[in-house]
């Protein structure tokens, strides 16, 4: 349930943005959820609901979209997607779920076997945009 901690962080960001734009209201929050972290969206939404108490915006403004994880080898320049990674066990996936950088511990470039790769997209939770409306 560490999804709740990330959900709380998203709410904190929206609160800050709202404070910076006094008098505006939140119309939509577009959240990109990285595939690599394997966030359970239902649990994440529960976390949002818990942390939205007494906020002037509700859960309905949040739009969650999964961001596919892609990698590029720094050694041989090969690019690949998470779905093409074989052999990750439950423990390895759980470690990456907690801390996506654990991917560098358990994954290798499928081309040359190097652990020296870059995560190009789909790491974790980011806010793509916050749409604000006129005066409340």
């Amino acid at each position: 349930m560490h999804e709740w901690a990330l959900a709380e962080a998203v709410v904190a960001s929206v609160d800050r943005i709202l404070q910076e734009h006094s008098g505006k209201r939140v119309l939509a929050v577009h959240v990109r959820v990285g595939e690599l972290q394997r966030i359970e969206l239902e649990v994440f939404r529960q976390g949002l609901a818990i942390h939205l108490e007494e906020r002037p915006y509700g859960e309905e403004v949040f739009h969650l979209e999964t961001d596919p994880a892609s990698f590029r080898c720094n050694h041989c320049a090969r690019e690949w997607l998470l779905e093409g990674v074989p052999g990750l066990g439950e423990d390895e996936l759980e470690a990456i779920h907690f801390l996506p950088e654990a991917a560098h511990v358990y994954m290798r470039c499928p081309g040359c076997g190097s652990p020296d790769f870059a995560l190009q997209s789909g790491r974790g939770v980011r806010i793509a945009s916050v749409d604000l409306g006129g005066q409340e």
Binding site: A5, L6, A12, E101, A118, L119, I127
Partner: protein
């Protein structure tokens, strides 16, 4: 893209009264050892203490403390690993075990932000941050994101070490980072025996861990103090974990260090929260 973790880190650290950053710039000076013995002593005094091992690639705090690795418990975040009474730990090793962690700078930054954002610390008297060698990514990110850190710099009596550690002190001074003082580690003589000896004219060896002079001079140059002088422990491996082995000169010096830290000795005024 907005990184929401940056908006929650300050709140995550609210339950922490003081954050002490053990840094040393030079590898092998014993930052993890000094962090661990300080944590053990503070916990022994009943002060709830946690260690955050920021040395992702060379994590060793769990070895010094005898922590059992495993995935952290989840509770609206992740809980640090329980090491003993009043003593907790968060480390990349909880997720990697003893496997190698080949991370580039961006990965180090991401992992640091993630741990700071999702770790739910209990009310703590002290959070001790064990830093890796160098003045690169980890230190710069820590200075950027961990606003309340007070630095404890670790050195040995080696002139080479002092030269490298001086650069760290120079950087901290230029950034107005709060500096509590310097721990001289791996001393080969104790303050007591040193007082009985005639004045020392030979310089300390390059790897030697001598006693006093180079570190004293460095501290004088940077207007700071030696907080404690921890002795070289030749049988360190056989004394791990450290939880019950802080006796003799080591125990005495660690208590002196804890006294200094809990008194807030030389503690500069904290910069106002941004």
């Amino acid at each position: 893209m907005i990184d929401p973790r940056l908006d929650i880190i300050r709140k995550r650290l609210d339950p922490v009264r003081r954050i002490l950053v053990f840094a040393g710039a030079k590898g092998g000076v014993g930052k993890s050892f000094c962090t661990a013995v300080t944590a053990v002593e503070l916990a022994r005094r009943g002060l709830h203490t946690a260690v955050l091992d920021m040395d992702f690639q060379g994590a060793s705090a769990h070895l010094f403390l005898g922590a059992e690795l495993g995935f952290p418990e989840e509770e609206a975040g992740i809980k640090p690993l329980r090491v003993g009474a009043n003593l907790e730990l968060m480390s990349f090793a909880a997720f990697s075990g003893e496997r190698p962690v080949p991370l580039r700078g961006e990965g180090v930054r991401e992992a640091m932000l993630e741990l700071l954002a999702i770790t739910i610390w209990p009310p703590l008297g002290f959070l001790l941050v064990d830093m890796p060698p160098g003045i690169g990514d980890e230190l710069l990110d820590l200075l950027r994101y961990l606003h309340r850190g007070e630095f404890v710099v670790v050195a040995t009596g080696s002139r080479v070490v002092v030269q490298v550690v001086s650069r760290l002190l120079e950087l901290l001074r230029s950034l107005d980072a709060p500096l509590l003082g310097v721990v001289e580690n791996m001393t080969k003589t104790s303050p007591q025996t040193e007082a009985k000896k005639p004045p020392q004219t030979e310089p300390a060896g390059v790897t030697g861990g001598g006693f006093g002079e180079p570190v004293e001079s460095m501290c004088a140059r940077f207007d700071t103090t030696v907080l404690a002088r921890l002795p070289f422990v030749p049988d360190l491996d056989s004394r791990l974990p450290l939880v019950e082995s802080l006796d003799g000169t080591l125990g005495r010096e660690v208590r002196a260090l804890a006294d200094a830290l809990t008194r807030g000795l030389a503690a500069p005024a904290m910069p106002p929260s941004a």
